[in-house]
Symmetry: C2
Subunit: 338 residues, 2 copies
């Protein structure tokens, strides 16, 4: 790619890994040699999100991005939500249908979504963002029990890629999250992708479509080629990633969220109260508590918190895990009241 640009050739690519990890160098090279580097297909296939950010939304300060940008995990979570399938079965079906690769790690551990968020946030927040700054958590720990609790609370579980500019520092995270069932993103199903962007002028904007596949990707690649041909004499490198310092990244411990926490504990008097006390002592206020299966030896306890610091949750979980009555902290899932 670099060699082609050095020889004065315009480049159109769908390679998200290259853009996410060496985007600055690639765009610097394009700029230096006066050629155009286009990469619409690198994020969300046929959805014109790169063009949207770099052309249509140039008048805006981007405030946040919330996206479903991995089709494989969205397919798996959709099957789990709609048909009560377990993760392993849904993954197997995704592999059989060609939505997941034989080695699914990059998708299910959210590396793919992380690279894509790296590109989107580098274009949106005033400078190149190193993907190592992105908090990443895959979907392998989600199971049908969590999906069922989510439904009871009026939520749907999606793998979200989130980037927010909060008072000049950027929050970057990719993880499963519960979102309200009424939110447009909650109805983005199967292998579809969607990206929600808030700009200070345009307000909420969502782009939805097929994020992968030969034809959607081809649509983006050919769109880039035609655009390059039309504007050949006026090539300017994207000013977004080039020659700028890395934006300030927020420490994950300093991010704020609501949390769903599922615990298995022995059904002894006072356990629920003791856990609630731990949360309270760490500044975590509870929104809901559900205890089911009264009378069994071990019972599931489910807590949903009000918005709090990640740091407070981590401290609480550490103390809860140390309790004698607690068999296991089964899962912790962030709740995004978007």
């Amino acid at each position: 790619m670099v060699e082609a640009m050095k020889q004065g050739k315009h480049v159109v690519t769908a390679n998200k890994f290259a853009l996410a990890t060496c985007g600055k160098e690639l765009l610097d090279t394009a700029s230096e040699f006066g050629v155009k580097l286009s990469y619409e297909a690198s994020v969300a296939g046929g959805i014109p999100i790169i063009h949207g950010i770099t052309e249509s939304l140039t008048a805006n300060k981007i405030l946040n991005i919330v996206g479903i940008i991995n089709g494989t995990t969205n397919y798996i979570l959709t099957k789990m939500t709609k048909f009560g399938m377990e993760f392993e079965d849904a993954l197997k079906e995704a592999q059989e249908k060609g939505y997941a690769e034989a080695d699914p790690t990059s998708d299910i551990e959210a590396y793919d979504a992380m690279y894509k968020l790296g590109i989107l946030s580098s274009l949106s927040f005033g400078g190149y963002i190193n993907v190592d700054s992105i908090y990443r958590e895959g979907i392998t720990s989600i199971n049908s029990v969590d999906i069922e609790y989510a439904r009871e609370f009026g939520y749907v579980i999606k793998l979200l890629a989130i980037a927010k500019d909060i008072d000049g520092s950027v929050e970057l995270r990719v993880h499963p999250a519960m979102i309200p069932a009424s939110h447009p993103l909650a109805n983005v199903n199967d292998s579809f992708n969607a990206i929600f962007i808030k700009g200070n002028a345009v307000g909420d904007l969502m782009l939805y479509g097929r994020g992968a596949g030969d034809l959607p990707t081809g649509s983006a690649v050919v769109g880039d080629i035609i655009s390059t041909l039309k504007n050949q004499s006026d090539i300017q490198a994207s000013t977004h990633m080039v020659n700028k310092s890395e934006p300030k990244i927020k420490d994950m411990e300093d991010t704020r969220c609501e949390y769903y926490i599922r615990v298995t504990a022995s059904d002894t008097p006072g356990t629920l109260g003791a856990i609630a006390n731990i949360f309270g002592n760490n500044g975590v206020s509870l929104a809901s508590v559900i205890q089911k299966g009264k009378g069994d030896v071990n019972v599931p306890l489910v807590f949903v918190t009000h918005e709090t610091l990640e740091r407070n949750i981590n401290k609480s979980i550490k103390e809860i895990k140390a309790m004698e009555a607690v068999v296991k902290v089964d899962n912790i899932i962030r709740v995004e009241d978007i």
Copy 2:
């Protein structure tokens, strides 16, 4: 606008009326004088739909467009759907909140949506489309009874702008329609706009956002200005509308749809059967029939048809209206199983 272009000035406009009615002349002038005419803000405010069609989707043959492109009517229909309000009350609230003008005709009679569909379809189907070719029907006849029946059938009522390329002739219509409650467009509420496009390569694509308001419109206008400045030396008029013949337009009578038909009839034996016979004789097959209020003098009868020709519906309705037992055909709403 024409004068400015003749003096060699690039023009950025949000004037949908001018584009829809004189778009060809305006773009011809831009082409003749080597200037750029940009009009992203003319359709759906901050949503980059013009850019999407003319730049990102150039590799695609557009197969169809289904949009909610009028915020005022969407606000009214949302209030009617969510709070059981009647049309007049919802309109009054929309006027109080500044979503509807003192004279709301252009919005509620769907002229606004018609102009916007004229622009989108002119860009999508290979030549300038005269807005007079677009079938247009407003939302004034929708009432809470229809909304309630829609809910029973699993539908939501939206004002849709529809353009479809079917075997080389273009179907163009703006009217209220019932759409499945699970479709992404069904959850586009309040004054939000959304446009669903199917391209032969990209598949289904949806763009969602604020269709009006100072800031979203400003976002589109400034985006156009920046884009014009960046590409000044390489201006090419849009090839979409210019120098092309008008595409072949499908006669509305030849369009196919499912239909919801609500009739008030006297509760006499045989009325339902007689109406069903009329439908059958005109080649209209029924999917559901609901008769409520048994025992009253007049009862509502509701029919939902399978897909059929508009012509067959029109013939059926004429015969049904002539029946002695039929008090009134209260409403006919198309059902789009998108």
